[in-house]
């Protein structure tokens, strides 16, 4: 069997590591880049290098940012007494696009799912507790997804935040059960946010 040159195989293998990309797709993308005449490969390489070199996690909210603190945490126009806790940076994006939320965020970077090797130690929970303790934060909105994992995570967060005496709310029922914040539309997100209830 004839094999492709090592540099081709290498890119195929690296691309296939990405979620949702199988070997076939990886090979198709690789050969597309080979044929491309617009130096897409060069621009992609630069973008990939910058992705890790220029970005970091915000030391306050753990969202992905190029400046620390991130523009949201640094904005005096936002309400810093309300923290919305989300699973992923993409959830921040979705809520920002809906454009109604004026508070700040905290990104957990995952959910509690022991059978998949995700434990509370892997999430930015200690950082959240430290951030709320002794601060002038008045409300924490638990905006994890309305899935089993999202509910377990919220349930654990509740046990950690309750002793701090802060108001704790959960997003309203408007979100489809089992759904993902990231894919909810602006109207649904706004309704869920406005319909949030103390727990």
């Amino acid at each position: 069997m004839q094999t492709a040159p090592a540099s081709v195989t290498r890119l195929i293998e690296e691309l296939a590591e990405l979620p949702g990309i199988g070997r076939k797709t990886a090979a198709r993308l690789t050969y597309f880049l080979l044929r491309d005449k617009s130096d897409l490969a060069g621009r992609l390489a630069e973008a990939l290098r910058n992705l890790k070199e220029r970005t970091r996690f915000c030391s306050v909210c753990y969202n992905v940012t190029e400046e620390d603190p991130c523009p949201i945490c640094a904005d005096p126009g936002r309400d810093h007494t309300i923290i919305c806790v989300v699973e992923e940076p993409l959830d921040v994006l979705a809520l920002e696009q809906a454009g109604v939320y004026k508070g700040v965020y905290h990104v957990l970077h995952g959910v509690l799912a022991p059978s998949e090797g995700m434990f509370v130690e892997d999430l930015r929970i200690g950082e959240l507790v430290a951030r709320v303790r002794g601060s002038d934060v008045e409300e924490v909105i638990l905006a994890t997804n309305p899935t089993s994992e999202g509910d377990w995570t919220a349930s654990y967060l509740l046990t950690r935040l309750r002793p701090l005496g802060v108001r704790i709310t959960r997003l309203g029922r408007g979100l489809p059960v089992g759904g993902d914040l990231e894919y909810a539309d602006a109207v649904t997100l706004t309704r869920a946010l406005e319909g949030r209830e103390a727990i």
Binding site: L112, A113, P114, S115, G117, F119, V120, E121, S148, D151, W152, T153, S155, Y156, T159, R160
Partner: protein, 430 residues
Amino acid sequence: MLIPLSPLALSVYNRAAMRVRYLSLTNFRNYARLELALPERPLLLHGANAQGKTSLLEAIYLLATGSSPLTSLDRQLINWEAEAGGLPYARVWAEVVRRDRVQEVEVILEKKPLANGTTRLQKTIRIDRVRKRRADLAGRLNVVLFMPQDVDLIAGPPAGRRRYLDDTLCQVDRAYCTALEHYTEALRQRNAALRHLRDEGGDPAQLAPFEEVLAREGVVIANGRRELVAALSQRADRIHQQLTGGAEWLRLEYRPNFDPAAPPALKYQMGLGLQPYEGPPLGVGAEGLVAAFRQALLTRRADEIARGMTLIGPHRDELRFVAGSPAQGTHEVDLGTYGSRGQQRTAVLALKLAELAFLQARTGEAPVLLLDEVLAELDAARRRYLLSQVDRVEQAVLTATDPEMFSAEFRERAVLMEVRGGIVTEAAAG
């Protein structure tokens, strides 16, 4: 799609009727393809072993319960030739007639490749072509399946008895089936968290979300099983006495692994720890029971972290079969441990017939009776007793290697079909 029946058609089905009118199998075990209109009369499938007689009963059972009676490895249900030919899926589809409606019930099993090179079996349940959960099968099609290996239910491992209770309840009780799904998932998560805490340490409070689910759903499961066992026990005893000519009685005993409703003395007997119970007051309704279960999980955390598994709860429940004889006074015997094979066989027959009566009482319609090669194991009197039940249900499907085992009179009113190599053909009468 719900097909409304005309008033005329309804009058035909007015006598409480539940039956599978049409069965379609694709790549299911021996069957590459089967399209079968089931007759109104009892269907007697005959043919040599390993030709597909049992698989046909299994397919109907799968539609009723969402799980296979034979294997916890559902992946073996997919026809291996089809799989080798690049069709890693099996499909079971039926048209089910109820008193007031006709429904399509469908189970699809597919092998999905995973990133790590292994495969995962995906089970899809559809009702009237709409995707549903296992709990939604409850109340669609009810069956009682009786196979020769069912005798192992009595003396075999307890997991088989729990599975029997679960499959029976899932046929009729949607809330139970939902609770079971949630419980099973929370148990898996909590056990993974316990192992993590044992091996790497961490915050034990992350067990709490799962303990909440286990406590809440565990109480639903225990209540469901307790009621079912009581209902079965009463009926099984009556039938058992008839089968033994009054020489022996039978009692089914539900022994919950954790029972906050039981008095402390009983708990001690069952080896549930030496410490007296210190939770909230008992016998005060579901909330009190949930709180007691939650508390029990909490107090056992340290021990369970050390063991890396959840040691209390319905996933460790027991069901025992106890028999005695009026001639021997108060003496009683646990059939699982001390019963003779003959006693166990009689008890399991009584259990299956009790299940039939239970399902009929619960739903108002007789379940479909599926008898797999069981006649060979029974003496003439019990054979007659069992066959008399065939006339009491709307639909019965029976299998036998030798149809001569049935009386000429029975064969006369049944429809005989031969199963050979996954092909079903209607044989000439006689």
